[in-house]
Symmetry: C2
Subunit: 487 residues, 2 copies
């Protein structure tokens, strides 16, 4: 046994040994095993210098609320590099928050036949309709947007106010969202407001295409979209079912990949509210997956975890596939909570016991040593969405995000954006920035970024041959990115 392990050891610690220990520890972090090429080493050294500057600046973006940090991040040289970096896949994005609200308001609400209504709880509803819609329980009076805009003196101000209804983004996040309850209430309102626009059948097509475009522009090549496959409506009131939505997503993806041959495609994780009729939803998911094996990746449940039912509560429904001899991959949200030791806090373990393929968020995983080991053994990655966790008030300073622990241990992990339009992001570069600079700190290097990007293909739901194809395509892009920026 070497002296350094003994309490009564003599003399100065051996600097070479100290160095070795530091390198051993660094090698455990995400990407710590990756051997960088000469070109990558140059880029890494450059990134390190940039990080030094960023960490010594007066304001450190990951330490402050993203809504206040966004303009700082946009000016960051690291961020600009991350935008150019091929980031692989976005594996945790909800369909209702896929496209920036700017486009929703400036494009969609300017289309003909778009009606708007302001509800008694100062929320907003949209509806496309051939003729004025009748009053509803929550909406007494609908106005044609075109007419309304014509009457208003300040269309820009009006459009900005519409955007405010569709996003959480604000200049004063601490004032507007004093606690989790308030921010979740706004979160749900914004989803409802967007629904009237997005579920209009012709809009959905464009919306989804635009969503893929935003990802592609941020150098992302593949998407797994969590979607409830809501029914859509036509101008004449016709309603389309889930299968229509699924087929539409498939068609749009086919068109998009034809237009952009370097884009791999998109798949859907069918999600259901963590409330009623979960059994029926699981059965539906089994059927959809059987009918659309190329598009439907699996099943997940959504809704605020802290105030909802546990996964274990739905154990019978979730056991259905096995009972029926069917396979239905799960991609559960779990551990999106600050509370420890509550019933909800067991969701991560249960997600693993139900053989989840990945864990959405897994914010609580670091404080569950046994579940953490189990996840590592089963090679189940967490989908880390740092900006989501901060905006939804799980943590204020991202240097305290528990993923610091996971990253230092090289726990399987991918980076995602959760609800980009609600958080005022687009693509994955903002979340990569927070993960790389805030959560990874000085330790995270180009190897970390490379592993995170490669992980997004590795832990995707793609079949093995497409994974391989995707990895090769991504690697080609990666090498070009390094060559373009290293020297």
């Amino acid at each position: 046994m070497h002296c350094m392990y003994m309490r009564d050891c003599d003399g100065m610690p051996d600097p070479a040994q100290r160095d070795l220990l530091m390198r051993q520890e660094a090698s455990r972090q995400t990407g710590g095993q990756i051997v960088l090429t000469a070109a990558e080493q140059k880029l890494d050294a450059y990134l390190h210098r940039l990080k030094e500057q960023e960490m010594s600046a007066a304001q450190f973006p990951p330490a402050i609320h993203f809504f206040k940090a966004k303009h700082l991040i946009q000016r960051s040289s690291i961020f600009k590099l991350l935008q150019k970096m091929p980031k692989g896949a976005a594996l945790h994005v909800h369909s209702s928050a896929l496209v920036s609200v700017d486009w929703l308001v400036k494009n969609v609400t300017y289309r003909p036949h778009c009606y708007v209504c302001f509800t008694w709880d100062s929320s907003v509803r949209f509806l496309f309709s051939a003729r004025p819609p009748p009053p509803r329980w929550d909406c007494f009076s609908w106005q044609l947007l075109q007419t309304l805009r014509g009457k208003l003196g300040d269309p820009t101000g009006f459009d900005n106010s519409l955007m405010q209804h569709l996003t959480l983004f604000t200049q004063d996040p601490d004032g507007e969202y004093p606690n989790q309850d308030v921010v979740w209430e706004k979160f749900e309102k914004a989803f409802i407001a967007a629904a009237g626009l997005i579920t209009h059948a012709p809009v959905l097509r464009d919306y989804f295409y635009k969503g893929l475009e935003e990802l592609h522009q941020d150098n992302i090549m593949y998407l797994e979209l969590r979607s409830g496959l809501s029914r859509t409506y036509e101008l004449d009131g016709t309603i389309h079912d889930k299968v229509w939505t699924l087929k539409t997503l498939q068609e749009v993806t086919t068109k998009f990949t034809a237009d952009h041959p370097d884009f791999l495609g998109a798949r859907v994780i069918f999600v259901h509210e963590k409330s009623l009729k979960v059994k029926a939803a699981v059965q539906e998911a089994i059927q959809l997956q059987k009918d659309f094996p190329d598009v439907v990746a699996g099943f997940d449940m959504v809704g605020r975890e802290d105030s909802g039912r546990t996964l274990w509560y739905f154990r019978e429904a979730l056991s259905l596939p096995a009972e029926l001899g069917a396979t239905l991959p799960y991609f559960f949200h779990a551990g999106e909570t600050d509370d420890e030791g509550t019933d909800i806090d067991q969701n991560i373990l249960d997600a693993l016991l139900f053989n989840t393929s990945r864990i959405g968020h897994g914010y609580a995983l670091a404080r569950h040593p046994l579940s953490k080991e189990l996840a590592k053994k089963k090679n189940v990655a967490v989908e880390l969405c740092p900006i989501s966790n901060q905006v939804l008030k799980l943590v204020s300073d991202l240097r305290n995000h528990p993923a610091t622990v996971l990253m230092s241990e090289g726990h399987p992990m991918v980076i995602s954006s959760d609800d980009p339009s609600l958080f005022g992001t687009s693509g994955l570069s903002y979340d990569f920035y927070q993960a790389f600079v805030g959560i990874g700190g000085f330790k995270a290097n180009l190897g970390t970024l490379k592993e995170l990007a490669a992980n997004s293909i590795r832990y995707s739901s793609l079949p093995a041959h497409l994974k391989e194809k995707g990895h090769v395509a991504w690697e080609t892009k990666w090498d070009a990115f390094v060559a373009d920026n290293c020297c």
Copy 2:
């Protein structure tokens, strides 16, 4: 291999197996191995019910700033139980912040010959002097407090303003301390302000006695005090050296334990500023420890870690004891930082390589997997001071404190208060509350509390026979506490 480890496993997870896993995980946490007696189980169940109430209340104290949560905690039934609980030892308390400012102002500043001076940077200085002190560089005009108070209409208001100079406590922590720099500046100002009072030789005696009394009242039986052993002064200007201070602490401790036979005593960890002349300080520490082996426990360095030198920078000085064939136990502050991968962030590893006996704070330890393993192997405890970490702005919501990870893994740990007078606490009950309710969450139970209290004796610097004696004495108190409160 059991089915649950396999991806393609069939059927519902076995509830018994799930239960077993949950219990296995719980058994890893701090105190998870402790088998509770029947009486302890009753008390534990009661505590669990109280926690349920507290966690479902509108405001959860560990989630908000301690200065705003203090009155909530004071009303908490858990807190009241913790006050009665025999907590063992306080192992990380700084001598300049040992006694509440209330006593300093209401007692010490009312003594005769106490002069006050207000500096140009709106700070305050005190000095006991037989005649008016001459102007100093930082203090142009000294006023006798007795005279000044006679002139003022509102002595209570005046005394409160004096207290404000001696503590960080305020109703508006977010407004007054927008960032770490500001709070550390105030921190250092408050220390300087207190120094003029505490280093007056006759005051020091009473101050230290009062400090032991406050701990004893909070059911603490032993203290390890971090002290620079500042020189003290008499009314006539005589200056006493470090040895005088050390002897005084020894005498006061002897008197206190004579007055309170259930108190075990106090020892000193000699501390030095992390700046100049560290070599000389280490030599002095070796000498003091040789001359006062019963009182001097070892050596530590202080000062804000983020802006100071690294331990490794002082490696020659810290290697002196080994070089000289002397023993000098170390009790280093290390890892009191949010920043990751910086030079400072290596302090924990270096503290371990220099065979530190404990780690002060170790806030960054959870994100250093190799250092964490090394610390566990060497059985080096972290001194967790949750309120200090929150007030000094390392973390805002204590549920995000990285010690959640350490506690879930049963990492060696003791609870302490760091600078109670600056944070507006007294004893350890407030920090125990935060550790038990905030960091431990629902999972932490009576076993956790029992282990944390027992740890404080186990990881103290006491020689083996006194540890044994201390443990027996503590256990007797513990059993009485359980019997008194369980049923």
